[in-house]
């Protein structure tokens, strides 16, 4: 079947674009599959999409975002086909919607930014963790509304997410402070007023999966009674239900240490994400 490697190609293409999100890239790739599909019935189309989805999920080491993108698209398709009469018309509508999905994510981000406005007050100090474009959009909006605030950015090792965040904030003209991950409790106790994070996925019991370290920070914020806000678009909602930290798909990240600085028999645990329960 020629479509099988095609979908992975498409996905890689979309995911390589700047400012790309895995869920959006998945939906774009599946839209292309739908467009190329020669099926003439609902069942045929669903079969094509199912094959494409399993190829995607198999390929990329069970990323949560890809799975949730596939499920979202599938639910969308099922609902549309159930309500529609004419197959061709329905298919055309779906392709059109799929193409517009990327644009609609911009709108969702704007909505989030609007909702988040009242939570940033003048002279507040905000702690952020990891590199999140949604959080950046929120902060950018606050700057445009002439709010005065300071941002404390954690190093978010090991993949330089913190450094990227600082650069982006500096471009916006926001006073930034860079701290190491272990210093979070030290600063949250007195200096910081509120914590903002993004999310890689929002799970079924209302918890989130995000950059490793988020769980720790949430516990500390809770202890000090500081508000902990998560900014996430609704397409990040997934149907997974983790019972504990181990129950999320393992996503490794950039190497934790320099290659030769540890004895070779040392085990290195390097999870990329953790799970923060509601």
């Amino acid at each position: 079947d020629i479509q099988v490697p095609f979908v992975v190609e498409q996905f890689k293409q979309f995911a390589a674009a700047p400012d790309a999100n895995e869920v959006v890239a998945t939906i774009q790739a599946l839209t292309e599959v739908l467009r190329k599909s020669r099926a003439t019935t609902t069942m045929g189309v669903q079969a094509d999409l199912d094959t494409a989805s399993s190829e995607l999920i198999k390929g990329k080491e069970s990323s949560i975002s890809i799975k949730s993108g596939c499920e979202l698209f599938k639910r969308f398709i099922t609902r549309m086909f159930r309500d529609a009469q004419d197959f061709e018309e329905c298919k055309a509508k779906l392709i059109h919607r799929g193409e517009r999905f990327k644009k609609s994510t911009v709108i969702s981000r704007l909505k989030i930014v609007n909702h988040a406005k009242p939570f940033i007050t003048d002279d507040c100090t905000i702690l952020v963790h990891g590199y999140s474009r949604v959080v950046l959009a929120v902060l950018h909006n606050a700057v445009s509304n002439n709010k005065r605030f300071k941002v404390v950015v954690t190093e978010s090792r090991p993949d330089e997410a913190g450094i990227r965040m600082v650069k982006a904030l500096d471009d916006m003209g926001v006073p930034t402070v860079f701290i190491s991950d272990s210093a979070v409790a030290h600063y949250l106790a007195n200096e910081v007023d509120v914590v903002f994070v993004g999310a890689e996925a929002v799970v079924e019991n209302g918890g989130i999966v995000n950059k490793i370290g988020t769980y720790q920070i949430s516990i500390i914020a809770n202890t000090f009674n500081k508000p902990f806000y998560v900014a996430a678009e609704s397409y990040k909602f997934t149907r997974i239900y983790p019972l504990n930290q181990k129950d999320i798909p393992y996503m490794g990240t950039k190497s934790l240490v320099e290659v030769n600085s540890l004895p070779s028999s040392t085990e290195v645990w390097n999870a990329g994400s953790d799970f923060t329960p509601p």
């Binding site: 079924e204 019991n205 149907r239 239900y241 019972l243």
Partner: protein
């Protein structure tokens, strides 16, 4: 004002009751045995009387088992039923059923599952057009009951088994308490998938329901450990997940289950072990309960004094004569929603806080319940 239905089984006067639980119907076994003969002659179907006996002496026990037995009896009653001349089936059959239900309540208070099934059944009776011939009406009712059993109990149990068994990984140590058919089905599904895991069954007096579970699991080839509830804190550090059954799930997320379940859930929570409750949606109830006192069932206090096969253990045999001594045998326990990590239902895995959402859907969706 609700008229108090006339009890079919005469109750003797009050035995010693624990004050905190004096609002609950007190356990009183003896009148039932005396009046069985007269009941058989009073026109109650003999199978119904047998069922009542089975409920009272706990030979049929457990939310699913009791509901299934009751529905089987309903089917029998319907098949043997004929509308008397001059009467309408809907009203007469409903009266008939009400008498049976009252009798069953006298034998042992209704379980939530039974209550929900009864409500379903009465709705179906009410939906029958008065002009429908008896044969057709009876067939309709029997089919509806079969459908209910298949969808809400049997199929639901299988879906829950699939859903919940996915949470059991290789190398896991699963802890469970007493005997739950849903949990058994789940462990069976995980075993059939080829997952390597072992089970620890916790049990308690006076009924030792866990022994049944151990028997079934060993028969399937699952490796089991059996422990008494007092050793819970000692055992829990080795456990990865706790799976519990439910008698019902309430609108505020509380799960009602066999007494002792709350202790297991709370202790597991203290050890940071996830607690999964396997519960079919037909067990959901609109009731809200904050503790295990307002609603509960009192069992036989004598069961606490006796130990099977140990006639030498009889220090409490005169408990009734001792002025300051009361015996309390509670049957149910309320597990707070904060101790429950997830409820596995046939509509998916939900947090305990989502129970009212499912209840609301059932109220607005005409095709459900």
């Amino acid at each position: 004002q609700r008229q108090k239905r006339k009890s079919l089984v005469p109750r003797e006067t009050q035995v010693k009751s624990v004050e905190l639980f004096s609002h609950l119907p007190q356990f009183d076994h003896k009148p039932l045995e005396k009046s069985f003969q007269s009941l058989l002659f009073s026109g109650l179907h003999p199978e119904v009387v047998k069922l009542g006996q089975a409920y009272a002496n706990l030979s049929i026990s457990g939310a699913n088992a009791r509901c299934l037995a009751m529905l089987a009896i309903f089917k029998l009653v319907i098949e043997d039923y004929n509308t008397p001349p001059g009467k309408v089936l809907t009203r007469d059959l409903t009266n008939h059923i009400n008498i049976i239900i009252q009798f069953l309540i006298d034998c042992r208070p209704l379980a939530v599952t039974m209550g929900n099934a009864i409500r379903f059944f009465k709705t179906k009776i009410g939906a029958i057009h008065p002009s429908t011939p008896d044969m057709e009406a009876k067939k309709f009712l029997v089919d509806e009951i079969d459908q209910f059993i298949q969808d809400k109990i049997l199929d639901a149990s299988n879906v829950i088994a699939d859903v919940a068994s996915a949470k059991i990984q290789d190398g896991d140590v699963v802890l469970t308490y007493a005997f739950s058919t849903s949990v058994l089905r789940t462990l069976q599904a995980a075993h059939e998938r080829g997952t390597r895991f072992r089970v620890i069954v916790i049990d308690s007096r006076p009924h030792f329901e866990g022994k049944k579970l151990v028997q079934r699991l060993c028969f399937m080839g699952v490796s089991c450990t059996y422990a008494y509830i007092t050793s819970l804190a000692y055992i829990l550090p080795q456990v990865t997940t706790v799976f519990l059954g439910a008698a019902s799930a309430l609108a505020n997320g509380t799960v009602v289950s066999r007494v002792g379940t709350a202790a297991v859930a709370a202790t597991a929570n203290a050890f940071n072990i996830p607690v999964v409750v396997c519960c079919e949606t037909y067990k959901f109830s609109h009731r809200v309960q904050l503790d295990a006192i307002t609603h509960n069932e009192l069992g036989d206090p004598d069961a606490l004094c006796e130990v099977k096969n140990r006639p030498d253990v009889n220090d409490l045999r005169n408990w009734n004569d001792l002025q300051n001594l009361r015996l309390l045998n509670l049957r149910y326990d309320a597990v707070q929603d904060k101790y429950i990590t997830m409820i596995a239902t046939e509509v998916g895995m939900i947090p305990a806080s989502s129970v009212p959402v499912i209840l609301r859907e059932y109220n607005t969706g005409p095709s459900l319940l």
